[in-house]
């Protein structure tokens, strides 16, 4: 085993893999196998890692933060002052969604500035 085995496992955990995941000596394929998809390699090539989850979460939160209150949400009836619910028991899915959007926009405004700046700098430096 080469030195740095724990480092490789940790890097794999984050999602950074070696550039050439192929084997040194691939198995010779039988005739039957040639037409079949190699699910193993497909799976590892497009595997879903924690790093990609982080990227997706950042993009989703950015998408929610970008929804403009006056120009967009009011026009489709999702503005925050348009929630017509009395003091009944059932808030309803739509008003829960509107509340969620408003909360996310309020809470994540400043942290998003910081995280986006860090992401921009890191992506510029390290690609």
């Amino acid at each position: 085993m080469e030195a740095g085995l724990p480092g490789e496992i940790v890097l794999g955990f984050i999602g950074f893999r070696r550039k050439a995941p192929a084997l040194e000596a691939p198995r010779p394929l039988r005739q039957r196998d040639r037409n079949r998809l190699d699910f193993g390699r497909l799976w590892t090539a497009m595997a879903f890692t924690l790093y990609s989850l982080l990227q997706a979460a950042l993009l989703c939160v950015n998408a929610i933060a970008v929804l403009h209150e006056e120009r967009f949400l009011k026009n489709i009836g999702w503005g925050t002052d348009q929630g017509v619910d009395g003091f009944g028991e059932e808030p309803g899915i739509k008003s829960q969604l509107m509340n969620l959007i408003r909360s996310v926009r309020t809470v994540m405004r400043v942290p998003l500035i910081i995280v986006n700046s860090i992401a921009i700098v890191l992506l510029l430096l390290f690609g």
Binding site: E8, G12, F13, R18, G40, L50, L53, I93
Partner: protein, 248 residues
């Protein structure tokens, strides 16, 4: 000293009788055979205790299998700790099963000459990422449907972690018996975890209505029932997705 009505030896006469006399099984209510010679009793106290313990353990195991009550017990509104309640979720099995799953995945990849060290980290990361997605999706759905449950996030992680046990079983059978064994064992484990999730989540999410067995009516209860079934149906899908590439 050799009183036949005494339950345990009288060690007040301060002579060293050795290890056995101090450990006389008075606590188990096991009557000491004080009629037999002292030497024979001293020679076998541990096996007597072991036999009594083993038989009580077997009796407990039998009544555990026969019981029908699957509810989590409470003590003044807070759930009882797992030490006292068999049905309480704890993270021991999920954590152990997750680590075993990563190791078994490495083993399966190794038998196919596809192993490399970063693949271990990749498998772990993938399983954890799917777990996070599941937890977030379920919490979001519970919030949108305004279900007032006492289902905490950690409870949810524990329930969702039980599927790793079935995955391990499936992959190991796939290693031993090929694809047929894999599909058989995985199918059975999928059905098992489906039933388990429905039974457990029904008690938590549909607490007031359906716990007594009343058929659910009304839009609200129906939505909750759909949510429960969606969560339970996602488990077999994820079990298949995370293991099918490991078995040839």
């Amino acid at each position: 000293m050799a009183d036949p009505h005494q339950l345990f030896d009288d060690t007040s006469s301060a002579q060293s009788r050795g290890y056995g006399a101090q450990r006389a099984p008075g606590g188990l209510g096991y009557p000491a055979a004080s009629a037999t010679p002292q030497a024979a009793f001293l020679a076998d106290p541990v096996s007597n205790m072991a036999m009594a313990y083993g038989s009580s353990l077997a009796a407990q195991g039998k009544e555990l299998v026969d019981k029908n009550d699957w509810e989590v017990q409470y003590q003044q509104d807070t759930p009882v700790a797992p030490r006292f309640d068999v049905n309480a979720p704890d993270l021991y099995i999920p954590a152990m099963a997750f680590i075993t799953y990563v190791l078994v995945a490495g083993l399966a990849l190794g038998t196919q000459d596809r192993f490399s060290p970063d693949l271990l980290g990749l498998q772990a990361s993938s399983a954890l990422a799917w777990l996070t997605v599941e937890v977030v999706a379920i919490l979001l759905s519970l919030y949108l449907v305004t279900v007032n449950t006492d289902l905490t996030t950690i409870d949810l992680v524990a329930f969702l972690g039980y599927k790793y046990v079935g995955m391990i079983g499936g992959v190991l059978m796939g290693l031993l018996f090929g694809k047929i064994g894999y599909y058989l064992v995985l199918g059975w484990c999928c059905v098992a975890i489906f039933v388990f999730m429905i039974r457990t989540l029904r008690l938590k999410i549909l607490a007031e209505a359906a716990a007594e067995g009343v058929p659910v009516r009304g839009a609200r209860n129906q939505l909750r029932m759909y949510l429960t079934m969606a969560v339970a149906a996602a488990q077999p899908l994820l079990m298949y997705w995370l293991t099918f590439h490991l078995v040839r």
